[in-house]
Symmetry: C2
Subunit: 504 residues, 2 copies
Amino acid sequence: MQEVERYGVFEIRLDTVKGGQPPCAVFKRGEEFYTIRGFCENEDEAAIRFMPRSEGVWHYTAKCNGHTLEGDFNCVPCSGVNHGPVVANGCHFAYADGTRYIPMGTTCYAWIHQPPELMAQTLETLKGVPFNKIRMCVFPKSMPYNQNEPLWFPFESKVGGGWDVHKPVAAFWRNLESNIAALAALGIEADLILFHPYDRWGFSKMSREDNLTYLDYCIRRLAAYRNIWWSLANEYDLGFTKTIEDWDAFGEAVAALDPYGHLISVHNWVSIYPKRPWLTHVSIQKNDMSVAFNAREEYRLPVIVDECGYEGNIPFDWGNITGFELINRMWTAFCFGCYCAHGETFHRDDEVLWWSKGGKLYGESPSRIRFLYEVLKTLPGVMEPYASVLINDPNASSSNPEHAAFLKNIMENMGEKERAQIIGELTKPIGRHPDYRLQYLRRSCPVYMDMRLPQNGRYRLEVIDVWEMTREIICQKASGDIRIDLPGKEGIAVLVTRLEGDEL
Amino acid sequence: MQEVERYGVFEIRLDTVKGGQPPCAVFKRGEEFYTIRGFCENEDEAAIRFMPRSEGVWHYTAKCNGHTLEGDFNCVPCSGVNHGPVVANGCHFAYADGTRYIPMGTTCYAWIHQPPELMAQTLETLKGVPFNKIRMCVFPKSMPYNQNEPLWFPFESKVGGGWDVHKPVAAFWRNLESNIAALAALGIEADLILFHPYDRWGFSKMSREDNLTYLDYCIRRLAAYRNIWWSLANEYDLGFTKTIEDWDAFGEAVAALDPYGHLISVHNWVSIYPKRPWLTHVSIQKNDMSVAFNAREEYRLPVIVDECGYEGNIPFDWGNITGFELINRMWTAFCFGCYCAHGETFHRDDEVLWWSKGGKLYGESPSRIRFLYEVLKTLPGVMEPYASVLINDPNASSSNPEHAAFLKNIMENMGEKERAQIIGELTKPIGRHPDYRLQYLRRSCPVYMDMRLPQNGRYRLEVIDVWEMTREIICQKASGDIRIDLPGKEGIAVLVTRLEGDEL
């Protein structure tokens, strides 16, 4: 009997379609059953893909063009990097098997539209870097540094112009899905961007009906890949050919049609997409990480700043920040209980920039992202942001009792609006867990800091240099009100770990 | 006949007061005349101070306690650094004689409350640095690093507690005014902070009536100093003992009572003070320079970010930015057509930090501020901010016609609200004058930039490194659409100067 890993792809191929309706199948194991719709590869071939979520023998009955096909397969345990699909869990993520998932994303918008040797190089690069999520577009991209034609288009073109969404180009989809599978094998989530406005071929101008047909095809064909995330848009608010009603229709359709409930987000240009029942997390483009913190408070969903500015040196301000600034933004976002992703845009005369085409990485941030990832992996559980306004700021409240009383008085006497404003402005990136507290000082350069720890306990203090990638334990038995020395430079974090005693 | 410089202080001293009303005098020269109110130094002595604004012989008639005193003095031309008081001129400043005034401010809140040798050192330091404005408080300051008692208090204390605002302490006021005069001699404006909340002596809790008496005294005594600016508050919105009505009453009183119309502002903590007829300019505390740009658009007044964060290393985030970040914020503000000021807070065990007590400077920013000042002084006239949104952004609009058309389309299709938002987010700091354009790239690191210059003309291009303090001319005859190489690092400005042809 064929064996398929739990959360793997079981596929039934059918070559008896002959222009008929796409096939479908019922998969059963004990009480569990799924009706799974298949897809046509071309006029003659079709397939049905299924991702089993429990181990054991599954039985299927497929119907296609009047024919029926039955069979069994054995679903065996996960192995290697396979922990199942990622799901939202409060304001954080986890794999389906319960393993914590800390998104360390990057972006290669059009990498599947590049020549095979470049695609291979991208996958090779991904093996050596800490990224476990990649934003990538279905449609090819047209903008500066993206002048080359794609390998294939997703549909055949219609006579007289436009695209025939009912006629998928098999080579295109095979290339896309083989790359998604390759990413899965590397433990990388494919955050698949379904629409974007950077277009010279007409994909951004298809009708709503054609768009829905296209989405349905994506789901039939790709939803069985465990590492798929649905990103409805890159920069939905630049897609002037689509209305909010269109986006809502797409979100509702994807949520309704996807049998596995993969993650769904909508990435913005200026305005964050409004809260919707089908939205599983918030994908943001913003330079200012306090926006992520505020979005987390508002949406109560996981927040990823998928675009915070790319490490690079091109003329566009979204693509010319230093590696340090990218790392600075990432640490800030993580200590706000949010997430933030990488991208790279170093000018090259051959126009092969990682952010769009993949290839090689040249920046200074990936090694620091690995370091961040390693620091986070040593911490149990997840961080919630410390609602660290002045009144409960360990920094402000202990050094000088008179000053602390003064600040407390301020907060109490403030109007609601001012209070909200000041909370937004002064909230510091401090991630908190009963067992630890991770405070990131951003570009602040204090030579000392006052902290208020519980009196009853013993706490370890570690000073982390996020750029030099060093961790120094400065105290193993801190408690109560203490003053600690700091290096007085940008990019410092302080990790407090409970060794015994009261929760942090 | 006594000679007094134009905009100098002519003083009449009277020792016949004996507890009577403060004196007043009428000053006349031809058609000009001023009724000037004097002040009591103590129970026996009084004085009247007058700042003549035109040259020639002035006649005065002073009345005091039933006596009359007449006399003449000769007002002679300005000399040295004396260009008269600074006035607002559109969104910029000028001296009364028309000379451009570019504010290069610093802050030493409590320097007049320090021991004489420290005050002398502060003045000595000010001789060697580029600052031409200093924020300083009348009242002493109480907060971390400000634990020492002041030399003198401004008033005698009342029996049973509180301050008797009708009994000024001569030594206090002589010390204050001699320091204001010393600043005038150095060409430094005294931005005198009349109220602030950092208080342990009760000055922040005086009644509105007492506050108005105190303000009246300040004006009678100090308004004749040409370099006085009235800053109603440091952080008015932290002064919870005062209402907006109080602040308005103070602003109206100062405007009504000051015979010379010195500049008046109100410095904020969180919320910028609302627009008022008596407000001559906007004094802001903010880290984000785009707030200054927006305030300039709203108020149509000169905007100074008097507190953008201080170069230093103390635990408070308002006092631990790098010198580079301070310079970065200053260049940003200036290229937005606004102004931004210096402050320094390096921890010292003796607690003598420049920001409050004066003394010496240790930071890296003053030399860079001098460089900025020198660059600005080479430029004629004043800069208006280039409303440089995408549609008229020389950077975005020329490199790729298709992309430019795409962006233009975006702006045209946007709603009002989104348009306003994107204008706020994407407006770049580009100062503009018909003869030049100064663009500051902040922390962006492009290795090239596309510019659109007029076709009809010849323009010089200079690349400025704001930190290394270098200016490199990279082209002497640019015109039309050009691409220029840039160093790909933070802190770069590009100065375009018209040599001939169309205005920029």
